[in-house]
Symmetry: C2
Subunit: 184 residues, 2 copies
Amino acid sequence: MSLKYGILGLLSYGPMTGYELNRAFHASLAFFWKATMSQVYRELKQMEQKGWVSATTIIQHNGKPNKKEYTLTQEGREAFVRWLSGPVVDSDLEVRSAFLMKIFFSAQNSPMINRENLHRFKEISRKQLSALQQETAIQEYGQKIQDKRSVTYWELTRQFGERYYQLCVEWAEMALATVEDQGQ
Amino acid sequence: MSLKYGILGLLSYGPMTGYELNRAFHASLAFFWKATMSQVYRELKQMEQKGWVSATTIIQHNGKPNKKEYTLTQEGREAFVRWLSGPVVDSDLEVRSAFLMKIFFSAQNSPMINRENLHRFKEISRKQLSALQQETAIQEYGQKIQDKRSVTYWELTRQFGERYYQLCVEWAEMALATVEDQGQ
DNA sequence: TTAATCATGTAACACGTTACATGATTGC
DNA sequence: GCAATCATGTAACGTGTTACATGATTAA
């Protein structure tokens, strides 16, 4: 559901190709929404049929393959605004964690494997945290497009991510201590 | 991917019907994994074909519909243990948040709607937090089944949830202050 | 010479969501 | 009388994942 609106949102800054949309996704929305190339192309096809975006083929020379640039239509912009201004519902907050599923059943695992898994979780979280802290794309874009209001909101999502991974690291330390304490 | 293992994990505590599995899901795993009835029935059918679970029909009198009780087979238990003892991978930590997607683009929204959305997010998070704090299922089960080791791990997932929703509430307060500060 | 980048997709499968169907019993 | 609980599912659709296909250019 949200992938559609992620694409519309990115196109609201200006026209882009599927390939560029994919890069933009990875550079900015990846912390809270992952998308693959084939998904992006499929959504673009569907949205073109709906009339939310329109495509223009750009012929390239120098041996590079032709591009299809997508532009937001009036209906597309309206659909985006309807979603954006619509209310926040319970399901927008849903959490899904394969890792916690594993932890839930981990009493049936060997203590050694549990310690390893918790350590690995902590390390991955730490890496994600420092990646988000060193994130400069927001500042760069902000200086380029001179849109102070956008930067505020982009920065809020980044800060959520920072706090989240901070939590993961601290929880992992607590969990490791608990598991050791119990002599497991 | 994880729904399968959630079902196998619950069946590792003893045989259950699809209906009971659904209730168990809502009572224990719901914070980090949501499942619907039809999904549970579909997975059970697939896993029966794979030979991971076996079904026994229990004829009921007193007007109630017949039940099908599912039991973990040896192969099912092996598949579960393979998953449980397998390494934690990056994708096990993936975050997906429709709410943050909306915040990311919220510079294009009216300031009033943004304040409303942040307030609503804070309220939902607060409710989830107090629901998790008042959660007693873990203690009850623990006393019933006398499995101290399981309780430790169940409790770790609950604590992750508590910390997570605490973070949400605090972040929302910070975000509201930021948005007000900017005169938006 | 090998991998990465640019650029488009298709096909098949897996998983998640929503609506529908049946029908007795129990509590408000 | 109406909603909830017990208990099973099917069907259709929507979304996410993985593998495959093409083919030139550029940097290590």
